[in-house]
Symmetry: C4
Subunit: 200 residues, 4 copies
Amino acid sequence: MSRIEAFSDGVFAIAITLLVLEIHVPEDPGNGLGQALLDQWPAYASYIVSFFVIGIIWVNHHAVFDHLQRADRPLLFINLLLLLFVAVLPFPTNLLATYMQEGGADERVAAVVYSGTMTGMGLAFGALWTYASRHGRLLGETLSPPEVQRLTRRFTVGAPIYLLSMLVALVSAPACLALNALLAVYYALPSGGAMPHRIA
Amino acid sequence: MSRIEAFSDGVFAIAITLLVLEIHVPEDPGNGLGQALLDQWPAYASYIVSFFVIGIIWVNHHAVFDHLQRADRPLLFINLLLLLFVAVLPFPTNLLATYMQEGGADERVAAVVYSGTMTGMGLAFGALWTYASRHGRLLGETLSPPEVQRLTRRFTVGAPIYLLSMLVALVSAPACLALNALLAVYYALPSGGAMPHRIA
Amino acid sequence: MSRIEAFSDGVFAIAITLLVLEIHVPEDPGNGLGQALLDQWPAYASYIVSFFVIGIIWVNHHAVFDHLQRADRPLLFINLLLLLFVAVLPFPTNLLATYMQEGGADERVAAVVYSGTMTGMGLAFGALWTYASRHGRLLGETLSPPEVQRLTRRFTVGAPIYLLSMLVALVSAPACLALNALLAVYYALPSGGAMPHRIA
Amino acid sequence: MSRIEAFSDGVFAIAITLLVLEIHVPEDPGNGLGQALLDQWPAYASYIVSFFVIGIIWVNHHAVFDHLQRADRPLLFINLLLLLFVAVLPFPTNLLATYMQEGGADERVAAVVYSGTMTGMGLAFGALWTYASRHGRLLGETLSPPEVQRLTRRFTVGAPIYLLSMLVALVSAPACLALNALLAVYYALPSGGAMPHRIA
């Protein structure tokens, strides 16, 4: 395992674990702790979506680096940009959890910021793959051209859909969160091609 | 060490270390700092139990992956589900520490949530092992069928006992915490079989 | 990868990810959440600068250790000193984010502390390289003397410029932050020499 | 690097980086931010001492594991106990930083808790080495009996001195912190024997 993968894995692991700090212990629950815990369901919903989004980006990041034979300086910085969006995710997650029950304009602003962060992450991921695969720049011999094209479609389709979810956010925050969850499910499904996951 | 183990270890290490954020420095202690520190004994008790629970899950996670020869996509996501329960553990730990002295219904609600998280974790762990070992799917040749059966018993017995501790939680939060501690001791004991811990 | 690199990478990855805790969810935004989010632009600006500063120090730390053949005890402690400044960075970042809009003396004090931390980090990095490369003490045979000289210039020029940014901080906090960003860009550019980034 | 070392390194790296969360940004500083920052010098002093204590324990932990050829289950749990004390350190550090200026009984209570945590850590470290080295149980052939004896003296002398610092804490918190710093310096010095630090 190279140092760039180890460092990235560290950031993924920390960001995914820091998400829990967003779930607060209710203080002075008037109607009982049970009710207070149920009332903060947006915190759990956004926690779970963000957790699986980061987890799945990690899986796909893994898949990309399995195909790379070398890294250069630009790749390093595109990767750093991707990690910036991953590391910042606890903030919009917390924002959405706080404002999703509020209703009104604030709720939609929070959802737009959440989707906007996802869009940035999707763009950075697409850029990482596009930079690495263009003219086979950093790839090894393990992929045929059709496979590269299939992966390019897969890894660049996220950004426009996240962008679409920003529009949905203008209408409904829960619908926006649900769309993000759906996209996570899409990326969780096997890609139909040759991307076995080696373990040892 | 594979990337899936490295990532999992990262989440284990971060979750176990984040637990400390639940122990708060007392502010304006009226009867002296010493008394205020003693009064928050539930924070220490739940810290210690959660610390060893995560530590022991890490040890057993390690034991499972020592026997795997490869990973596939479903295993990756079952593992992600397990990590979700591990990473969220600081929240119920904090919840229990806050409400364990309160008495009444809130204390028992906190204990039920704590045990419920443990149950989820136990179920995910059992699912991980069962998926990997069923029909020897992902195992190497290192285990005989009786050994697989013994490990299956060991790794699936946790969930029902955690479920039992949810019932205990309805009666007494400290008894529930004690039962969780006992289960940790059980998993800490050697399994009686061939699971030496290689270091190099 | 050696344990000293792994430990350092861990600290880099955690410090860079903890930065997000400095960005707070606005509470009770009077003029709407959108305005409240825009108002805390210093938090985003200092987040981004600190994120890339840590990221780039990580890249250069990597470059230094690629050339080392061995480590001794003094190197270990100089490295620990560097990590102290990296790990503490979330504090001055938070300080600057909090006071950058305040104006007056407090804003400049915050900027001086921010630049001062960067200066300490630059000094520690320069000391790390100088100690390791003096008389070729810990280097392998991979670098020619002119290359060592070029890297020495590169790795020791940071501290005086950070020191300069402390003077700028006395006049303008935003100008000081911009100068720190510029220095990050300088270190992000390729060094013109032979420092390819191996990935596998 | 084995998984037990990687996991331990993760906990060390996270605990050492979480220490920064104890340093708070002053709010509403009446006499100016500069003065408010100077007033919280105990936070910086205890941060620095705790940072180097964890760093040095990491170095010595590394030294111990360099001599181990294998690990068994008891070692795993003694190591987990050591990590518990390392991971909890941000709490007493924060406690000491908060109460060191208070004077009176509370200040001394905080110092006793700080020293007590260090004592526990010292005992766990001594137990780790003693268990591993007794009758050469887990050691390789790399150490002669006199070297083992020298290391045993070195790794078990910490606990009684930390215990002594608890007595000092009853009289003066700053003197107690200074004694802890001195002990860190002792462990930072080379051990006079054969413990070179391999890097690759």
